[in-house]
C-alpha cells in the first residue's frame, strides 16, 4: 500500500496531514518538480520585497516529511499516469507505483500569445525561483511593467516598488482587482497604489513586448498605441490548472480537473486537489477553479481523508482573499463582486474605509472590507454557515459589528460550543 502525491504545496500538505490523522503507517511519496521543501507560495512577494528571508519561507517545520513518514522526491517531474498499472512516470523515466494517487500540481501562469513573449526578462511570478530570478536582475531594473492588476500582479508591483524599482501596472479592466472588487473598493486600492508612486493604466493592455538587439525587453507597445520604455515585464493575468499531463493520461479535465465531492477524479483511486481542480463552489453550487490557498488546503485534506477510506465530503470552496497593499488592507469573501437581481447590497464608505455586504434571501453571500477589516471573519462565518441575518441586518455595516449583534441563542451556542 502506498500513497503518491504529485505536487508539493499546500494541497499536498493538507492531504498528508489528513492521511496521518488516520493512517500512521502507509508510506507516502511526494513528487514535485520544484527543488524546495514545501514553502509558502504567497510569500514570494515578501521574499522579493526583502521582508521575509528564504529560511522563513518554509510552510512547515524542516522535519515535516520525516515526522509524517513522507518520502519527498524533489526536483522530479511527473510526465504521465498509468491508471491501469497504477503507476506514475517521471521525466527521468522512473516508474512509481501507487494505491492512491493525488494530483496537486497547482497552476501555471497564463501567458497569452503576443509578440515578444519569448524575450529575455519577460517573467511570470508564481514560484520561489521566479522571485530569485528577479532578485538577480534587480540591479538592471529601473522600470518594470506588470501586466495584470490582480492579486499576484499587485503584490509583485508592491515588492518591486519596495526595492526601488519604478512600476507601471497595466490592466485591461477599468479597475484593479476587478474580479473581486467593485468600482468603489477598486478605487480605494488604486488610490493607495498611486499615492505610493505606482503608475496604473486601466482599460488598456500590452499588445507587444519590445526588445533590444540583445533579446532583452526594452519596452512595451500598448493596445491604445502608446509605448512605454521598461527593462522587464511581469505577466500576471492569471493561472491555469497544471493539468495537461493528467489530461493526456485520461483524467477528465474541463478548465481544471473535474472532481466530485470526495475530491475523486474520473479515474479509480486518483484524486485531485488545489489550484489544479475544478471543484464545487459553495455559494454557486457549480464547479469552478478557485485558486486560493485555503481552498487548496481544505481540498487536499478532504482528498487525504478519503484516500485512507475515512469518508469526508467536500461541501464546497468559499472564495476568500486578503491582501494588504501599502498599508491598506482589503478582504473579500464569497460573491463580492457579482451583479444579479436577486442580490441585495449594503454598503458604507467613509474616510478610506469601505464596507460592503451582499445578501441573498436574508443571508450573507459576499463581503468586501477595506481599511477596517477587524473581525471580518464573523461575516465570513455568516456566509459559511448560511445564517439568517434578519435580526442583525442593521448592524452588519457597523465597524464594531460583533457577537453582541447576534441573536442570543446563536451567540451562546457559538461561544459555548467549540466549532
Amino acid at each position: 500500500m502506498s500513497y503518491v502525491i504529485i505536487g508539493n504545496s499546500v494541497a499536498a500538505v493538507g492531504a498528508i496531514e489528513a492521511i496521518r490523522r488516520i493512517d500512521k503507517e502507509t508510506p507516502i511519496t511526494v513528487i514535485s518538480d520544484e527543488p524546495y521543501a514545501v514553502y509558502s507560495r504567497p510569500l514570494i512577494s515578501e521574499l522579493l520585497a526583502g521582508q521575509v528571508k528564504e529560511e522563513m519561507m518554509g510552510y512547515r517545520a524542516p522535519d515535516f516529511y520525516e515526522r509524517h513518514g513522507v518520502e519527498a522526491k524533489l526536483g522530479t517531474r511527473v510526465v504521465s499516469i498509468d491508471s491501469k498499472k497504477k503507476t506514475v512516470k517521471t521525466e527521468a523515466g522512473e516508474s512509481i507505483g501507487y494505491n492512491k494517487l493525488l494530483i496537486a500540481t497547482g497552476g501555471t501562469p497564463f501567458v497569452p500569445p503576443m509578440k515578444g513573449r519569448e524575450l529575455g526578462r519577460v517573467m511570470t511570478f508564481i514560484k520561489m525561483d521566479d522571485a530569485k530570478k528577479i532578485e538577480e536582475m534587480l540591479p538592471e531594473l529601473k522600470h518594470v511593467v506588470v501586466i495584470g492588476a490582480g492579486l499576484i500582479g499587485l503584490k509583485a508591483a508592491e515588492s518591486l516598488h519596495h526595492r526601488g524599482v519604478k512600476v507601471t501596472v497595466v490592466e485591461l479592466a477599468d479597475r484593479v482587482m476587478a474580479t473581486v472588487l467593485d468600482v468603489e473598493a477598486g478605487k480605494v486600492v488604486q488610490d493607495a497604489l498611486e499615492n505610493a508612486g505606482i503608475d496604473i493604466i486601466t482599460g488598456d493592455t500590452v499588445d507587444e513586448i519590445l526588445g533590444d538587439n540583445m533579446g532583452l525587453v526594452n519596452g512595451v507597445k500598448m493596445k491604445s498605441g502608446e509605448a512605454l520604455d521598461c527593462d522587464a515585464v511581469i505577466v500576471a493575468i492569471g493561472v491555469v490548472p497544471n493539468a495537461a499531463f493528467a489530461k493526456a493520461s485520461g483524467v477528465e479535465v474541463n478548465r481544471g480537473i473535474i472532481t466530485d465531492d470526495h475530491m475523486r477524479t474520473n479515474l479509480p483511486d486518483v484524486y485531485a486537489a488545489g489550484d489544479v481542480t475544478e471543484g464545487l463552489d459553495y455559494l454557486s453550487g457549480d464547479n469552478r477553479v478557485m485558486p486560493i490557498w485555503p481552498n487548496a488546503y481544505i481540498q487536499g485534506k478532504i482528498a487525504g481523508f478519503n484516500m485512507t477510506g475515512e469518508e469526508r465530503i467536500f461541501t464546497g470552496g468559499l472564495a476568500v482573499n486578503s491582501i494588504e497593499l501599502f498599508g491598506v488592507p482589503v478582504v473579500t469573501a464569497g460573491m463580492s463582486n457579482v451583479d444579479s437581481d436577486d442580490l441585495e447590497v449594503l454598503k458604507k464608505s467613509e474616510g478610506g474605509s469601505y464596507r460592503k455586504i451582499v445578501l441573498r434571501d436574508n443571508k450573507v453571500v459576499g463581503a468586501v472590507l477595506v481599511g477596517n477589516i477587524d473581525r471580518a471573519g464573523l461575516v465570513t462565518g455568516l456566509i459559511r454557515e448560511r445564517i439568517d441575518i434578519s435580526a442583525m441586518r442593521e448592524r452588519l455595516l457597523a465597524d464594531d459589528f460583533g457577537y453582541i449583534d447576534f441573536p442570543v441563542e446563536l451567540r451562546k451556542e457559538r461561544l459555548g460550543v467549540a466549532l
Binding site: S40, W293, K301, S322, I373, T380, A418
Partner: protein
C-alpha cells in the same frame, strides 16, 4: 481539552481581562510598564463585547477543525498535540487571512508589529490570566 468559556450573566464589562491579557503578553509582564513604557505596546488577545447590560469576552476558541490553520498562508498557525491552536509570531506576516476566515473574529490585528495576536492560553501560567484575574469569575477554564 480545556478552553476558556465566558459566562455572560457574570461578565460585568470591566475589561480587566483585556488589561491582564495585554500585560501577560508584554515583554516585562509588569502591568504599569506594559501599558506605559513598552512600545510597541502588547495587545490583548481577548475582546470584551458590550451592549449594556450584556457583555462577554471573546477569544480564540481553539477550534477542533480550525479554519485559521487551514487558511494561514505561512503556516504560522498550527494545532499542537494538546489541541491548542498556536500562533508563531516569527512566521506571521500579517496577511490577515486568519482575520478573514475565523468565524469568531478571534485573531486581532497588531498594527504596529503587523502581526496577528491571538489567545495562546498563557503557556507560562497554569490558568490563563484572563480567567484568573476576572473579578467576578465570568471566565472559566475547563473541559466541556
Amino acid at each position: 481539552m480545556k478552553r476558556v468559556y465566558t459566562k455572560e450573566e457574570a461578565c460585568i464589562g470591566c475589561r480587566l481581562c483585556e488589561v491582564h491579557c495585554l500585560t501577560e503578553h508584554s515583554r516585562s509582564k509588569n502591568i504599569i510598564k506594559a501599558h506605559k513604557k513598552e512600545f510597541p505596546r502588547a495587545i490583548s488577545r481577548v475582546l470584551v463585547e458590550e451592549l449594556r447590560p450584556v457583555s462577554f469576552a471573546v477569544q480564540c476558541r481553539h477550534c477542533d477543525e480550525p479554519v485559521c490553520v487551514e487558511a494561514c498562508i505561512t503556516g504560522a498557525i498550527t494545532k499542537d498535540e494538546s489541541g491548542k491552536v498556536v500562533h508563531d509570531e516569527e512566521k506571521c506576516v500579517g496577511c490577515w487571512t486568519c482575520v478573514l476566515v475565523c468565524p469568531h473574529g478571534a485573531p486581532r490585528r497588531d498594527l504596529e508589529r503587523r502581526k496577528v495576536a491571538k489567545c495562546d492560553l498563557c503557556p507560562d501560567r497554569e490558568t490563563p490570566a484572563c480567567v484568573e484575574m476576572c473579578p467576578n469569575r465570568a471566565l472559566v477554564y475547563e473541559e466541556r
